[in-house]
């Protein structure tokens, strides 16, 4: 998990979906998740047109099904547990529908994130009028999360090697101090990072190499997808 290149490792494959503009991919993913959430309701059969859509997207991005499924694994136990609870209150149909919705939503997000360079994804969010501050923060967290998590690993090893244990009260105090130490290290790192960034010409916004632009293929893709998703929602609402 703690490897930043793992996340968008399929973004450099030369496939049709990868060539689309990040904004288009974000809009289509959002439309997929939202339309599915509203139209499927408690009927598992209504999921069919939406799963076909995901299969289509996965095909034009040349992602192997095994890779996709493996990435959903960490989320599955929780979905299963939540659906089980739902099964007792709303019945088995609703439980299956909820599980499938959760699973397909996660799949669509995984496809989006693993086929888009993270910097382009951020640029896309910025283009879709997500506040600048939020986008900058996301980019920083993405970069430093792995380093800081590593740092906590070091603190933990140091703690263990000094015979961490004893009474609960003492444990909490030590854990709290570890968190405090982590904060101070992060804070000092923030200072250094800022100086380093200014030295490299930082002015407060994200810059990416390779400018993206909306071309005809993007417009065709986004309109076909949204028309398909909307009609899938409407038709399954009427029929299934």
């Amino acid at each position: 998990m703690l490897d930043p290149t793992y996340i968008d490792s399929y973004s450099s494959i030369n496939a049709p979906y990868q060539r689309l503009d990040a904004r288009v991919k974000i809009i289509v993913t959002l439309a997929f998740v939202i339309i599915m959430a509203i139209s499927v309701d408690d009927r598992p059969l209504r999921v069919i047109p939406f799963s076909l859509f995901i299969v289509f997207i996965a095909a034009i991005s040349r992602l192997s099904p095994m890779v996709l499924l493996r990435r959903t694994l960490p989320a599955l136990p929780f979905f299963l547990f939540a659906s089980l609870v739902l099964g007792f209150s709303k019945g088995s149909e609703a439980a299956v529908a909820a599980f499938l919705k959760a699973f397909l939503s996660v799949l669509s997000v995984i496809v989006l994130v693993s086929t888009t360079r993270f910097s382009n994804l951020l640029k896309g969010l910025e283009g879709l009028k997500v506040p600048q501050l939020l986008v900058s923060l996301i980019s920083f967290v993405y970069r430093y999360l792995f380093i800081i998590a590593d740092e906590y690993g070091h603190i933990k090893i140091a703690r263990e090697s000094r015979n961490f244990g004893g009474s609960k009260r003492w444990q909490w105090k030590t854990i709290g101090h570890s968190v405090g130490t982590l904060f101070l290290h992060s804070y000092e790192r923030g200072d250094r990072v800022y100086s380093a960034m200014v030295a490299r010409g930082y002015e407060g916004n994200i810059r990416t190499l390779g400018t993206q632009g909306i071309v005809r293929a993007d417009i065709i893709f986004v309109s076909i997808s949204i028309i398909y998703l909307l009609s899938a929602g409407l038709i399954s609402w009427k029929l299934l």
């Binding site: 994130v113 709290g176 405090g180 990072v193």
Partner: protein, 305 residues
């Protein structure tokens, strides 16, 4: 506490998404105006810090462990607006990269952990600190409250979507999180303790100790907030038999008991008014009475000192 996609009904997640998006956008603008560009990398690294801190487990007894939420911790360091934006950042990343929490449920999750967990937790911290003047006590109580309230909000959302009836979800969620909250409180105190002792020159940590006098306006805002919460939550409260009532019911002496003792607002309802309005009114009266009592107690204590 991260709600995935597919479990909330549109009538729950749509309004919460609108609410959370509005809150996050206006908070970003508010900070954006105030701060210089130097703050951005700093806040970014701090957000990464909270993300990492959420991986910190602490023992809660019985062989299980809870993990930190960090809402009050970060809000006392960077203020409530910064706390909200940082929590939103973390939740967006968790949904995108770690499949922790859904896309349609993002608004609900930001509401629970950002608005309730960080902003409301911070307000509670400020409020208790004003009245008691004891920072450690206020931090602990506010951290505990933030975790419990966030889990309560999640329980209400799930029950409104008819996933779990509130009679089942509320006791389960509140029960486990009132234990996890103790850990949250203890870790938050210890962390900020160390920060204010070792990093004495850091700008943020000193802000925690700055005392500002409570204004009349703040009291009114507090009162309005509490009434709002009571109106929203009171209808749920009345459906929950409390521990004693439950025992009484099973042992079969509830009828006898109720005839002997009559409360002015039985079952959080005002006699003569019907249904939801009556419950909401009872909630408001409850808040006003509690507030009045608290105000009197504080006035008396204040005079003695």
């Amino acid at each position: 506490m991260h709600i995935p996609d597919g479990f909330l009904e549109p009538k729950v997640w749509v309004p919460l998404t609108v609410l959370s998006a509005g809150a996050v956008v206006s908070a970003s603008k508010k900070i954006g105006k105030k701060m210089d560009e130097k703050m951005v990398p700093l806040m970014g690294v701090l957000a990464a810090f909270v993300f990492a801190a959420q991986m910190v487990n602490f023992p809660i007894g019985g062989g299980t462990s809870g993990h930190l939420m960090g809402g009050v911790l970060i809000a006392t360091i960077v203020g409530p607006y910064g706390g909200l934006v940082i929590m939103a950042t973390i939740l967006i990343l968790q949904a995108l990269l770690f499949q922790d929490g859904g896309i349609t449920a993002l608004g609900a999750n930001i509401f629970n952990m950002g608005i309730v967990g960080a902003v409301f937790g911070y307000i509670v911290f400020r409020g208790i600190n004003k009245f008691t003047g004891n920072i450690r006590f206020s931090l602990f109580t506010a951290s505990w409250f933030s975790v419990v309230a966030a889990s309560g909000a999640a329980a209400v959302e799930l029950s409104l979507s008819k996933v779990v009836p509130i009679t089942l979800s509320a006791p389960a969620m509140l029960g486990i999180h009132s234990i996890i909250g103790i850990g949250e409180g203890a870790v938050t105190i210890a962390a900020l303790d160390l920060v204010s002792r070792v990093g004495g020159d850091t700008v943020f940590a000193s802000e925690v100790t700055v005392e500002k006098r409570i204004t009349k306006k703040a009291i009114w805002i507090w009162l309005a907030l509490s009434i709002g919460v009571a109106m929203l939550l009171a209808p749920f409260a009345s459906q929950l038999p409390d521990g004693l009532e439950k025992v009484a019911e099973t042992l079969g002496f509830i009828e006898r008991g109720s005839s002997n003792f009559s409360s002015p607002l039985p079952d959080y309802r005002i006699p003569g008014l019907s249904g939801g309005i009556s419950t909401a009114m009872a909630g408001i009266i409850g808040v006003l009475v509690t507030f009045g009592l608290a105000y009197m107690i504080v006035r008396i204590l204040h005079r003695k000192r």
